[in-house]
Structures are given as structure tokens and as C-alpha cells.
Symmetry: D2
Subunit: 430 residues, 4 copies
């Protein structure tokens, strides 16, 4: 089976040729940090403990409204999706969990799936429900909304689906559900703005009350979809309002791409953390809208600033914000999805590393004294430092690859799965 | 004195020539409404009772960062500002109150000012404090913020100023204070995002607690000012969060220009109304940012949609949302400020009229049945109806002018105040 | 056949009940125009001569990235698409041509299609080529671009396709081709920005040179697609540059939805008209991006301002800008596509009517004298006038329906085609 | 005099303590480049030859619409402005020219000013005219525009002013004039969109024709100012159109802040370079609009991408794009202007350095093969490299400071000029 290609020994072997240059770069990075009074080894500890989930639907080629341009070798089953996730994690050792999407990933035998995943050293992260598509044989249509629908029968169907996903999650060892709604309207007047929120609230209350006691519900806001005039949970304000009305186990989830132009996203993160309502974060990048392209490919400095907020109050050396659910939520139209996820994971871990080498006490002093120049100097000192050796060292220590993309290409994994799976489109669902 | 020019008799005289055409248009409008089963007379009743405040600072020529191009005749004192406001109200009879800005409008003798205003048939609306400028002789500087400042001495000065404004408001018969803060930062890192909010909160708590029991505090959010990276109360979410923490007499105020590109402002209005936190609305229009240009000059349909939300649950024929504070918040760089305010008042009243002729029960049915086409037909049926005769009739009934701008130009008021006041800039403060 | 339902007699019959109210409204509108010295009858002449093309792909249910929610009765063949277009035109008499999209609409027998269309009183407008999708059996893939591709073989295939479309257009009586390219890249660095433009240019030169002498090529710019970092022809500047390099028969086409946030689209129209490079206009509306929703549903005042520019220099009473290609380019996800197109046509014709009742000589005087208030008064006087009776009269005179949507619903056409065509999705291509 | 503080010896002395760490970092950087086959010494050569102009108006505290919060020590005369510029250049050795703004910087004796500047090792860059403010005693007002005005007398005054600035430039050794116009309108209808462009064109033609044969005219576009509805030269398309109509010595100038939300600015740079119309670039940064804050403080990756385009076709080791006029165009509301300009210069030079260490031939291969992953890897390999040692080495070699801001603070220059010049506002003009 293809995965044998990426066994630990093989990866260690791949690392050999670059090891000496890595050591030189690492020592230099540690020396630079030492000069600034920062414990680089503790930073590596935190990096080595960090993990960001991969969504099951990200392994296939994404699509635009004009159709898909398939790559070949796309996974046809949930098992094949997990195999691809395992490849990524073997290379990075920073993607230890997978986020499933139901019904796309509905397993016949949940327990068998848990065992299979365990064999791949993978766990299950937050479950995702889907009430934005009509499935074959579905009784009620979500054309005009799901949890917000004017017809109680449609709402009931959507509520039942979410409860099914939660029940499945329990069997898989997940204790979180992410509810993203495409509920909204395309035209002024189409929907009673207030009524739609209130109906959604009553639907969520029902799900919340039936959720097991250790389960957390994440609400994900989004200002618009193509062709929309409004969505029901359009921004962090509505998300916060809804989560507050539901209770302590309802939390807000922020997706980097779900904001109006020019939004200050790091400030949204700060507000939700302050209000004790930040539950998780979805990573991607974008230039115009919710483009879902590779994290860090467009605005890497913004990503750093987001991590500066996410890591506020963080003790370097300890585990990073272990209560937050982190996931890559991107689409892969042009790149090999595995390469794309490797690049995203790298960018995320680099931004985390930059936030960890920030001299926070000096920054706090500069803020207190309104020394604006110095505050910027400190941010840039962290951001411009080449932290790639720290991230590579964390991977190395965990048994991952020094250069994940090079190793992946060397493995010929894609060629092999094309042979196994064929060139037709897969089971992404989208 | 110039105001004699615009006495009731004179206005009635001005109206004569257009009266017959007005009657024809009015009858036709009423007939059209009648066909649709809408009581046009009740609509006129609501329009006749409506009033929107004029801010004292709007009577002078506004400025851009390049300087001002004064018009001449600008008011030099608060009394002259009120005189101009009285002119506007005599023409429209829909601008019965004035919103003062302190310290720009600090009166020597508040009681005398009340009497003076009464003589002009004007009252006082919400008071506005100012902690975004340094005044001559001021001990602490607001360069790095006011209620959010890292230095307690600066915060105390800003708190004291707000309490002074409230005390003055009490003397003037106002029971509302609008707090708009330019507090924020220009660069990432400059300000502790969370700390700035929490310091602002503690400052506001102090003001709130010392506020008389019948006083209401309005918080006005804004995403950015030129050269800003963030503001402390950047959106309705932060405004709502802050107002919730303060208590029931803290309310949110929405300004049409204080939003990111593409924001759905009518939805913000709906959310705050639902959460019982909408306190008031500031009218203006804009194409790019917070342009503060004439209301209705760029996006009149959006203005209508805002009124559809503002008037949700409204009984046509009764007074319009009498708990909400309405104000025109615009700047007048090119037009004669009086003409500009006449145009804004007209656009606001027209949008209100359009929202009142909307067939809400039919709309509600269309929404319930997801009849999207029909919902749009109903909105457009209200919006495209020519409601100008209804608004003109409401003015006429109140003793105002059929054509306020024509009457104003005929009065030669501007020429006369140029003679009295000169051509130099006035006391706008900005 | 279903079309019998909408014969002239039947429509005339439908109009009867509303005729008297229409006459009243029309007389009032004409009287109002008369008071302002505007010849309303001449306006109706221009309105009655106006037509905007319907695109063949607009008759099916559109889709979002989550899939389609089909309506039922969607056309399965080009003949069924034309039948639906004919229904629209019978109701409006302002949609006399259809714009085909190849290969979606490739006819077996072009001559037979021409005859069939003629029988439906329809002609063919600009042809549209498609190099943004891979068709089954296609040798080269457009995954990484078409006319801009780095591989000459791909470019050649795309050039050949465009020449095929032109050849087909000749047979159908069309003398225009609209080239919209999804060519672009998703990531910085992916594409040589300059090289991509230059390769596109060389491809277009080849098409241009082989185009028949009476043929016109329209280039349609667009700043982004979902998941894009850049497009090759991103704005009117690039479109103008390209069209200039090609020659006089290359023209720019403006689509209302293809602009960055806050763009001043009417100014783009003015610039291209000045440079003699405006070839046509695609109508739709949007709140956030290229939403392709019903024209006039979001920003009707902007639509009016666009028409003020489109009609600059226009003689009222004559045909409207007969050299420009007008098309509705919208997608219909929620509404019945026929109702949606009826609403769009109505909004477009109303905006044209508003632009025709504008007192241009008075506006010109106000502009010359920098009388900003008066310029706005004049625009609003035209915009706020209820011109619906003029548009209805133009329809009536041409044999169309007074209330197209009511008549359409009364006809039960949708119910009948659902019976004939079934409820499965159609041949929209998207 | 204050400048003595920053003599070469003193700077060399300041550098001593950090020299050893710098050498270590530099060697490591060169080793890393060497591994990638890039000649780091040649990169340093190009960096050492690079210079970006400082505008004379940037040395004072900027202002917002609420007023200025002066810093103290602001220059009161053009000589004091030049002194501050000299301080910056002594520290960076990368700001060798100053860009003057007339009338703010009108010298009594141009020849004496040239001598004075020479003594400070400074030259004069592009001159800037000002027709966006009314100056005391000015006959015609620019309230309603300057080169676009409807009144020929106003246009003539503006034309004469530009010719005066050109004549002065000749005396000062400048051969470039930058014309930025605030000409535009605040409301739809206020201005004839086309007429305004054509009047501007005829005014520019007159200036162009009277310009000396070796002079170049830069046109700077901008989409909006606060309170605007449109500007006459709103985007690169209009700028290009205008420059094309004028002739070869009219060029377009791009300012990083003069774009609509989400604009792809690097693409604009590429287009103008391709069309042989890019004349220069103004550096700053912004989050929302034309914020004019420190370059690189918000979007450093975008700055890198702009330099990737600016340096396209560039031979590393030679002088950088010596035909382009580079200037920092920022405003300094909160930071010490000198510190702000030091940070901007640093960010600009770093972005240049990153663009120079990009492996362009490998990138070109990846582009040719549509290897999207690899193209991004190459961009990031250049961007994430810590090039600060290269930039520091270039400064060091030229006699500048290793750490310009630390050296500046150590010099106590600000304290000294506060003593000399006082704490009142200066002569910035804005």
C-alpha cells in the first residue's frame, strides 16, 4: 500500500542530505534568539506539540462554479481520505487529527473507522454537519434555508441531521460539532431578517439541549456567499449574540476568509477571546473574498498578527491554546491537495513560531508608554526573524520531514495513488 | 434680523404658485395608495409627526484634510447656529431639535440658551462630548486616546468632560449623551487590543454610574478613521458588547457611514432592534468611506431598506419610533449647509414615507412562502411610488414650504447672513 | 405547445382589467413631464424601440458552489431555451434577441435554428465563446488558462474555438463575439503577469485578423473569480489597452458586477465612451461580488447613473444607442428564471426612462456654474418621478403585457413546461 | 548645530557594539544564499546603490480631520526640513534626494538652496505642484477643481502655477514634476464626467507643451478623497489614457495607497511597465484607505510582490531601475517623523533585497510548467529569508548606521531641535 512509501525510516533517510545545513541554520537561529533573551528550545517545544486538523474534504480537487479540473488519484472513500491525511501527518507531524463532514464521510462502521484511523496515528477533530446541500432522497429541500427555514418540517429535518452528526461524533471520539450555515437570502425582502435569526436560534436551542454534556457547539459566521444579499449569522456580532443566548458550550469559530473587505480579523479574535467565546479557528487565505486558498499565500503578516492575539497570555514552552480547535479550511483547485495542505501547515506553524519569539514584555512596555515606533520594531523583529529552522527542528524531533514538499515529491505517492484510484474525480462532496 | 424673512406668512406666500400642481399630485398619490388598500392620510399623519435633529456643527462649511473652502455667512456663535437651524425647521417643520457638541457649543448661560431656542421653536436633542481633539489649555492630550488611554490621568480627564456634558445637558433639557470615540491605533502592536477595550469599559462604567437616572448613553461604533489600524469600538458587535456590560440605559447608535465596504447596514439595524439595544441613527451617505455627504445622494435604496427595518412593527398613523434618536450627521464642503440639510431631510422623510406605504402583510406572506419574486415586487412597489406629494403635504400641514430649497433661495437668507456675519470661517469646530 | 398560452390576444385580454388605472397613471405622468417641459410621448417612443438581449444560459436554474436547487421545467435544448425567451419577449416586447453560448448551444442545423427563432420573433445577438471549462473529449485542458496559456497547443485550441464560434455566428446572423476569459492565476508567482497578457494579446490578434470584416469583438474584463489572485484582463484599463492594440473592431464590454468594491462604474462607462471603446453592457446586480442577481434589486440608483452616462448625447425620441450591445447577464438560483428576467428587463427599462426624463440642459447649466445642490435636485427630479406608466405604455404599444409578472403567473406556463420537460435539471451548462 | 551630532565618526562609533553580531548574521545570510546559488555580494551592491526620496512635507506632524497633535521640533523653514532629511540620510545613506512641494517650500534664493542642500549631501527629486488648496491672496479658488475647472480663468491660474513649479525645478536641478490633482466631485451630477477629463487634458497639454525638452511629467491617479464621489484621474486606466494622449514624456506614477479595496497593485505596476508608462512609485501603507502610514507596517508581503514586478528584468548587481522615481509619501501623525521615515526606508530596502534574492530563472521554469506549488515555494524562499544583514551591510558600507533608529535615539537630535525650534507646529503645509 502506498503509505509504506512514507515510513519513518524512509523519511529519516530523506532528511539526511539536508541535515547539516539545517543544523547550521538552527544554531544561528538559536543564537539570534539567545541574543534577544528568548529561549529558542522552549519555542521548539511548543511548536512540536502543536497540531492543526485537516478536513476530510480537502483531499480532493476543489471546484469553481465552472467545474473541476481533477488532478487524479483523488480519494474515493473515507479510508482513502484518511490515508492521504496520514501522509501529510507523517511529513509534518503537525496534522494529527481529521475533521469529518457528514454525510460525505458517513462510515458504515464507526468503530472500524476509529481503529483504522488509530492505525494511521490519526484522531478525529470537530465534526461538521451539512444543511446547505440537498442529498439524494432527502424529503425537505434546503433551497430556502435549513435551521432558519419558515417551514417547521424543514427545520426539524436539519435539527435531526445535526443530532445524528453529534451521535456519530460520540462514537468516533469527537466532542465538538461545527455548524456552518449557508442560510440567508439573495434579495432584500426575501427573508424577515429578524425572524430568520429567531427561528435559527430556536433550532439551535433544540440541538444544544440534546447535545451530550461534554459536547461543544461551534458557530461559524460568514458575511456572504456568491449571489447572496445576507446570511443569518453574518459576522462575529451575530455569532456572539447567538452563542451567548445558547450557553457556555456554544462557542464562536472564526474563519480567516469570512469577513468583509478590510476587516481587522485579529481584533475579532481578541474580542471573542475577551468574551470567552472563541472556540476555534479555520485557516486559509484570500485576496478578494472567501477564496479558500493556501494559508499564508497572500497575507502572511496578517496571519502573524492573528497568532499574536491567539497566543496572548500564552506561556512559551507549554502546549499552545489547547482549548481551541484549529483546522485548515481550504480548497485546492490547482495545486495537488497534499502539497497545498503541506504549505498551509508550514505557514501556520511559522506564524505560530513568529508569535512565540515576540518579546511580549517589551511590547507591553512600549504599549504602556505609547512608544509607537518601538512597538512596531518589536513586532517586526519577531516577524522578520527566519524561524524556519525552529519549525523544521520541531518536525524533525517528531519524526517528520525537514522539507515536507520535497520528500512528498520524492515519494511518488501521487503517481502511485493515480494508479490505484484512477484519474476520475473523487468523493470530496463539493 | 434675517429670520424675519422666513415667517409663516412669507412661506405660505411662497407656496401659492405651486399649490395647484401639488393638489393634483397629492390626489393622484392618494388614489394610487387607495387602489392598493393603503391609507395615505394615515401615512401623512406619521410623516407630519416625524422630526430629525440637526447637529449644531453642520451649519458651517466642513473641511477636508486640505483645508476648508468657506462659503460665507457661517455662524460664529451658538445663537447664530440656532438661527440657521430655525430657518431649516421653518422650511421643513421636520427638524425640531438641535444636537449640541461640547466644548464647541458651550453656552455662557444655559438657561438663556434654552429660552432663545424656545423662541425659535427649537429643542435640544442628544448632547455630544468631544475627546478626540485637544482644546487650548487642556492638561492631558488625547493624542493616544481618551477613555482608553493607558494613563489614568488622561482617562479621568475624559470621564470628567463627559460628566460635564451630561450636567450641561440636564440644564438644557436633554436626557441623552452620544459618545463617539476616535480612540484607536494607527499600527499593529501600538495598542493592546483587549486592554484598550477594558480600559474604555471601566471609564464608561464610571460615567454610566454617575449619569442621572433618566439619562441614556449612546455608543457610536466606527471601523476606522483615516490613518487608523483599528478603533476600540469598531463595529456593532463591540458596541453591543460594551452596551450590554454597561446596562439598560446604554444603547448603540448606528451611523450610516461607519461600516466596512459592502456591509449590510439594514441587518445591523435589525439585530440591534432585536437585542433591544438600538438607541439611535445618524444619517448621511457615502460612496467610499465615512464621506458624510448628503443623505440619499448615493444609495437611496439602501436608505429605504434601513427604514423598512427601523419601521418594522410600526403602526402607520402613529408617531414613528419615538424612542429612537435620529440625527443628520453630515459635513458640507461644497453645498450651502442649509441647502444640504434640506436635501438630507427630504431624502430621510421620503425613505420613511416609502417604508410606510409598503404592504407589510403581503410581504410577510411572500416571506412565509418563499415567494422571492413577489417579495421584491412588493418592495419595489413601495419604493418606486412617487411619495413626494405625501411628504410635501406633511410639510404644508405643519406650516412648512412646498419646495424648501426654492423657498430658501427666494429668501436670500444666505446673502443677508453674509452681510451680517462676513465671509470668514465660522465656529464649526472641525 | 405551451407558447399558445401567451398569444397576443390572450395578453390583450390580461391587460384589460388594469387598463383604466394605467390610463390614469399615464396621464398623470405625462402631465408632470409637461409641467417640466419634457415631451413624454417622445420618451415612450425611445422606450418602445429599446431592447435588451437575453442570454440562452439564463433560462435554467443557476448554481452555487454547493450545487443547484432545480425549479423544474428547465429547457433541455436550445429550442426550449428559445421558447422561454419568446415567452419573455411576448410579455415585455423588449427582449427581441438572444445571446448564444457555444458549445452549450451548438445547433445541429444553424439555418433551421434561424428559421425557428424567426418564427418566435427572435433574433441572435452577440455570440459567446467558452474557454473556461473543459468539454468532454477536449484534447487540451484550460485548467491553467486558455488564450494566455504557456503552451502554444492550448492557445491554438482556444483560438480555433473562437473562430468556430465566429463562423457559426455568421450563419446565425450575428456579427459580434463576446470573449470573456477566466484566464488568470490563484497565487502570486503562479503566472508571469506580463507574459500572460502578451500571450493573450497574440492569441486575440490571431482571432481578430481572421474575423470577417463586419464582425466586432467584445472584451469583457473582470477583476477576480472565487479563489483567484489575478485575472489577465482585470479592469477597464487592461481591457482598453488590449482593445487599442487590436484595432477599431475590438471593443470593451462592461458588466455591472465585474468591479472592485466601491468602483464608480458610471465613470468607467463615461471613459470608454469618450475613448470610443465602449461596445456593450451586461446587466445584473450585486451586493458583495459578481453576484449576478436581478438587475435593479440592490442598487437601482447606480443603474440610473449608468444610464445617464450611456444616454449622454442621446436625442430623446430616437433609438437608444443603437451601436451598443445590451444583455442581461444574471444567474437565477432562487427565482423562476423567467420572472427574474422580467424583473431585470423592467428595472433596466425604468432606468432608461429615468435617464430620458432628466433635464439635461438644466443639468449642464448647473454643472457649468458649480451649483451642486441644483445638479442633485435635477437628478433626483428625474429619478424620483414614477416612470412606470411610461414603460408600461411602451410595452402596451408593442403588444406586451401591462404587468408581465402577473400575466406570466396567470398563464401557468411554468406548470405546463414542468409537465412537458420534467423536474430534472436542464442544459444551462453551468 | 544639531547635525554635528550625527557625523560619520559618531555613527561609526555607534555601530561598534553591534558589529560583531552583524558580521555573524551577515556571514550566515551569505552562506544561505550561496547554498541557493545566489551571489549575496552582488545583491549588496544593488542595495548600496539604491535611494528613495523623502518628501519635504513629511518632516512635520501630519494631521487628521480633527487636528494635529504636534510632536515638537518640527521644521519651520525649508532649510530645517532639509536638515532633518540629512539626518535621515546620514543614518540610512538611502535617502539622497528630497522632493519639494510648491508653494510650501518656495525658496527666496533657489541657487542658495541648491548650495545648502549640496552641503548636506542632498539633491532634489521630482517637484510637486499644489492646486488642491487655496493660498492666501490667490485670485481664483480651487473649491470646484483646478485643471478641470469649468471656468477657464481658474484653469489658467493652475496651468501657470505648474509652469512656475517647473521653472523653479529647473533652477534646483530637478527635471521631473509630479502632478497630483484633487480635482473631482462630491456628488453624482455635480460634474460632467467626460467634460472634466477633457478640460484636464487640455490644461495638461498646455503644460506639457511648455515644459522643457528634458522634463518629465508624472500623473498620479487616486480613486477618491474623503467626501468624494469621483476624481478626474481615478485609476491607472485614466492615468494611462491621459499620459498616452500627452506623449512620451508624460508618465504614470503609482502610489501604494491610491487604490480601491482588494486591488492587485503589483499587476498595475506590471501593466504600466509593459506599456512603457511607469514613471515612479510612492511608498506608504494602509489598512482601509489612503492611510499614508509607515511603509511595510500593514502589508509587507504585498510590498515584496510590488518589488518583484518593479525588479522584473533587472540585473542583480547593477543599479536598480534607475529611470523610476521612488518616493516615500507618508504622513506622520503619531510617530516621530524621522523615526517613521527610517522605518519606511528600511521596509522598502528589505523588500528590494527580498526581490533580489528571488531565484527568477527557477520561478520562470515553474511558471512555464504551471508548477503552482513550486512557484510559491520560490517566492516564499526569498521572502522568508532574513535579509536584514544584507541591508545593514549596504548601509554600513555607505557610512550609515547598523541600527538607524537606535542611533537616532542615542543622538538626542529630537530633544535638541525641540530646544532650537520650539514645540509649536511647523511648516508642513497640511
Amino acid at each position: 500500500m502506498s503509505l509504506n512509501l512514507l515510513a519513518s525510516d524512509w523519511i529519516a533517510d530523506q532528511n539526511k542530505s539536508a541535515l547539516s545545513a539545517h543544523q547550521t541554520d538552527l544554531e544561528h537561529a538559536l543564537e539570534q534568539l539567545d541574543r534577544r533573551g528568548i529561549d529558542g528550545r522552549a519555542v521548539i517545544d511548543t511548536l512540536a506539540a502543536f497540531s492543526v486538523a485537516v478536513p476530510s474534504w480537502a483531499l480532493g480537487t476543489g471546484g469553481t462554479r465552472f467545474g473541476r479540473f481533477p488532478l487524479g488519484g483523488e480519494p474515493r472513500t473515507i479510508e482513502e481520505k484518511l490515508a492521504d491525511c496520514a501522509v501529510i501527518n507523517r511529513l509534518t507531524r503537525a496534522n494529527r487529527t481529521v475533521s469529518l463532514h457528514i454525510p460525505w464521510d458517513n462510515p458504515d462502521d464507526p468503530q472500524a473507522l476509529v481503529e483504522y484511523a488509530k492505525g494511521l496515528e490519526l484522531g478525529f477533530d470537530a465534526m461538521n454537519s451539512n444543511t446547505f446541500q440537498d442529498q439524494p432522497g432527502q424529503v425537505q429541500s434546503y433551497k430556502f434555508g435549513s435551521l432558519c427555514h419558515t417551514d417547521k418540517a424543514v427545520r426539524d429535518q436539519a435539527i435531526a441531521h445535526n443530532l445524528d452528526v453529534i451521535a456519530l461524533g460520540e462514537k468516533l471520539g469527537s466532542d465538538q460539532i461545527t455548524i456552518w450555515l449557508a442560510d440567508g437570502s439573495s434579495f432584500p425582502g426575501q427573508m424577515d431578517i429578524r425572524g430568520a435569526f429567531e427561528r435559527t436560534e430556536s433550532s439551535l436551542v433544540e440541538i444544544y439541549q440534546k447535545m451530550p454534556g461534554d459536547y461543544t457547539m461551534f458557530l461559524e459566521h460568514k458575511p456572504y456567499e456568491p449571489a447572496f444579499y445576507m446570511t443569518v449569522i453574518q459576522d462575529w456580532g451575530s455569532s456572539y449574540l447567538m452563542a451567548s443566548r445558547l450557553g457556555g458550550r456554544a462557542q464562536c469559530l472564526v474563519d480567516l476568509g469570512h469577513h468583509l473587505p478590510n476587516s481587522n480579523i485579529e481584533q475579532v479574535v481578541s474580542r471573542l477571546l475577551m468574551a470567552d467565546k472563541l472556540g476555534g479557528f479555520h485557516f486559509n487565505d484570500s485576496k478578494y473574498g472567501d477564496d479558500d486558498i493556501t494559508t499564508g499565500s497572500i497575507k502572511p503578516y496578517q496571519l502573524f498578527l492573528v497568532f499574536v492575539e491567539l497566543a496572548a497570555g500564552q506561556q512559551v514552552g507549554g502546549p499552545f491554546q489547547d482549548k481551541l480547535a484549529f483546522m485548515i479550511d481550504a480548497s485546492h483547485n490547482l495545486k495537488d491537495p497534499i502539497e497545498d495542505l503541506l504549505q498551509s501547515t508550514d505557514a501556520i506553524t511559522l506564524a505560530l513560531a513568529q508569535s512565540l519569539v515576540l518579546n511580549r514584555s517589551a511590547l507591553s512596555d512600549a504599549q504602556q508608554n505609547n512608544d509607537v515606533t518601538q512597538a512596531q520594531e518589536l513586532l517586526h523583529a519577531a516577524y522578520r526573524l527566519d524561524v524556519r529552522p525552529l519549525v523544521a527542528e520541531a518536525r524533525l524531533r517528531n519524526g517528520g520531514a525537514l522539507s515536507p514538499i520535497e520528500a512528498y515529491r520524492a515519494s511518488n505517492y501521487r503517481r502511485q495513488i493515480i494508479e490505484e484510484r484512477g484519474t476520475e474525480g473523487g468523493a470530496a462532496g463539493l
